[in-house]
């Protein structure tokens, strides 16, 4: 039976620093994916995730067991990603070269098509505003309800619904434009 996040947090607070690596293993890669889509490149995404884990570690004493650790972390991550995005770093292509290196099975069947799709996805996401991109990813990729999104982002539910709706409309326009070419 998998040890709960709260139990691991208690071990870390009790002095077992290495137990934190269990949380890193559990959440790191998932958060890198989410952050990469949010900020648009892997370098910034890994920096955001690293910073998120370090901030969470330092603040672990304030973590309330009643809250899901994943949600608590996601809230820190969203704030860090906003900060990085606000710094105006140049949006880069979402590392298509590494996809072929590290996901050989997925890329094996149609590597050229897959690379093209990833590039298209990355470019389309980059055309959304930061708030729309964040809301779209939380809702459709992370699968969160609007209530959960409100808790994480601090925005109202109606505003979030509007952002998701507009992001869908915009993405459909972009994708249909690509398909017509």
């Amino acid at each position: 039976m998998e040890t709960s996040d709260a139990a691991i947090v208690q071990r870390v607070l009790g002095g077992d620093v290495e137990a934190f690596s269990i949380l890193v293993e559990r959440y790191h890669d998932h958060y890198v994916r989410f952050a990469a889509h949010l900020v648009g490149n892997r370098e910034d995404a890994e920096e955001v995730v690293q910073d998120t884990f370090l901030r969470a570690y330092r603040a672990l004493g304030r973590y309330e067991e009643r809250e899901r650790f994943g949600a608590w972390m996601l809230r820190i991550l969203v704030n860090r990603a906003r900060t990085v995005s606000a710094m105006g770093r140049r949006r880069e292509q979402l590392f298509p070269e590494q996809v072929d290196e590290t996901l050989p099975e997925a890329a094996e069947a149609h590597p050229a098509e897959r690379a093209a799709l990833r590039e298209e996805v990355s470019r389309a996401l980059a055309q959304l505003g930061p708030d729309q991109r964040e809301a779209f990813l939380l809702h459709y990729v992370e699968g969160l309800s609007y209530e959960e999104m409100a808790a994480i982002t601090g925005s109202g539910i109606s505003a979030l619904k509007m952002r998701v709706k507009r992001s869908c409309e915009r993405l459909r326009e972009i994708l249909q434009g690509v398909n017509r070419v």
Binding site: H28, R62, E64, R68, V99, V141, A150, G154
Partner: protein, 210 residues
């Protein structure tokens, strides 16, 4: 507004692609743990809410009815209701049932306040109270304000750590939480806890009866 999406929607393939794993530097987790080992060790900190809560959220005190047009703003009603709250507590608090120092929901009356003449629906006035002496800011968030963490700030009593706000709520089941210092979500220490959810922060449930 619908979130439904059929399989032929071009967005469906787009979203499926976004859910695929991305490449991760294999050394990144090792480097992260190196930084964790160098960082100061986290220590358990005192909770903002006391272990034994001194007060709690809910006092339903007055029902408002009217047949007039819906014209009064929510804020106007809440302000007016706050005045009614003080008057009502002065007369009925002695008979309020108590458990320790927890104030439970109390229906005080059924009279019609002047401001309520602009309302068609029945509303209940609810006071939310949180004792958080170390907090700089406390806000109330819930389904009744769209989970907006800035819309409903609590006011701190001048000589204590007690924060409160009074709202007019429609009858029904409401979920809510307090947000302390803009970041920490706190469930009502003695409210009814909401059903745990994988990703939601702590919440409480309040049922406002008709």
């Amino acid at each position: 507004m619908s979130d439904r999406m059929n399989a032929r929607d071009p967005l469906a393939a787009f979203i499926a692609e976004l859910r695929e794993p991305v490449a991760v530097d294999p050394g990144s987790k090792r480097r992260l743990m190196d930084l964790v080992r160098e960082a100061p060790r986290p220590m358990p900190t005192a909770r903002i809410a006391p272990a034994r809560p001194r007060s709690h959220a809910v006092a339903v005190i007055r029902r408002m009815r009217s047949g007039g047009p819906r014209a009064a703003s929510f804020g106007t009603l809440a302000t007016a209701a706050g005045i009614a709250l003080l008057m009502a507590l002065g007369t009925r608090e002695a008979s309020t049932p108590r458990s320790g120092s927890v104030r439970r929901a109390v229906i005080i009356g059924d009279s019609v306040a002047s401001v309520a003449s602009a309302l068609r629906d029945t509303l209940r006035i609810v006071q939310f109270i949180l004792t958080a002496p170390a907090a700089s800011r406390v806000a109330l968030t819930g389904d009744f304000n769209g989970w907006d963490t800035r819309a409903t700030p609590l006011t701190r009593a001048t000589d204590s750590g007690r924060w409160s706000v009074t709202l007019a709520l429609a009858p029904g089941r409401h979920s809510y939480a307090y947000v302390v210092d803009d970041t920490q979500w706190v469930r009502d220490p003695v409210g009814t806890p909401a059903e745990p959810n994988e990703l939601t922060p702590p919440r409480s449930v309040l049922v406002v009866e008709k």
